[in-house]
Amino acid sequence: MNINYTLFGQIIFFVAFVLFCMKYVWPPIKAAMTEREKKISDGLAAADRASKDLELAQKKAMDELREAKAQAAELIEQANKRANQIVDEAKETARQEGERLLTAAKSEIEQEKNRVKEELRAEVSAVAIAGAEKILAAEIDAGKHSELLDQLAAEI
């Protein structure tokens, strides 16, 4: 075993290489590795999030579809109801109109009847007067008995 200056030479090399490694080798490699680790974990997290998002979106789509279906059903129901209502309303108006026409016709008939009665009455009284005139001739004063005749006519 010859111990000599080689020992110190080796110590110097040792220090130099360790310092070089510490300054120029270790930090960049370590940084790259740490960054890659972070990248990978980020990627995994993103994938997780994406699948969760997808699930949510699917759920949302299902919900909306269901809601739309419900809305459509409601609309149809409403439309049906409205149609029934319209039909009912139409029926009602038709009935009322018929009734109205009926009453109008009835009242017209009544009026006509009254008018005819009036006319008849007047005519009857005239005919009666004429008959009585003819029967009674001069004996009967029209003016004197008109009261009695009117009373008669009213009784018809």
Binding site: M1, N2, I3, N4, Y5, T6, L7, F8, G9, Q10, I11, F13, F14, V15, A16, F17, V18, F20, C21, M22, Y24, V25, W26, P27, P28, I29, K30, A31, A32, M33, E35, R36, K38, K39
Partner: protein
Amino acid sequence: MAGENPTTTEYIQHHLTNLTFGELPAGYMRDDGTVLTESMWTIAHGSSEATAMGFNAFHVDSLAWSFGLGLIFCLLFRAVAKSASSDVPGKLQNFVEIIVEFVDNNVKDMFHGRNPLVAPLALTIFVWVFLMNLMDLIPVDVVPELMMALGVPYQKIVPSTDPNVTLGMALGVFILMIYYAIKIKGVGGFVKELTLHPFNHPVFIPVNLFMELVGLLAKPFSLGLRLFGNMYAGEMIFILIAVMYSAGLFFGLFGGLLQVGWAIFHILVITLQAFIFMVLTVVYLSMSHEDH
């Protein structure tokens, strides 16, 4: 190999000798018989010259291979770090990230303080020591023979079989241990830890100090010597098996088979030793950060 026809001893010794550049003292007689009038810096020829140089020497091969392998680590990882992105990683980036992740997980398990130095330190140690150990898997004769042909007398290509290298790293770790122990606990806290454990009574201070100091100093030495011992032994076995090549065709083939088997087993050893060095470094630093 040292001579034209080296003996087994020469062959093994050649493989275990570093390329040493150092100062030969004045008055030293070199192999070729010349006597130095004054001290001089030169490449050692033979282990006796290397021994004579003593402390005033460098193992050129250890330093070069260790630096080169460290440089490969730095450049490779720096290239990835530069182009690192959080997008889908390429093959190289993936490979580097696996290692970084592995080291980071180990550090997180063992080190609970907050210190930006520890993880890069662990990464550097793991990869660098692994690369140095990996040199052990290159067949033992290839590089030394090649260098011989180029005129370089010795070449030990596994830096972690050089105690200078492993102890150098262990001392680097030791300095960090002391630095952080004092930084986190304060000088008082550090001294208290050395003197009032395990027996918390003033009478026991010398005993405690002795025990704790031995424990403290044992850490870097065991750290460095464990790696050195394992790699040296592994290299030695490769060399010893390689000696069989000179013992005829049958032993040569058998030796080749053994080399392959040992190399496959050694893949485990070099990885494990790099891992152990890293883990112990992190554990020691973690202990320095623990406040009692």
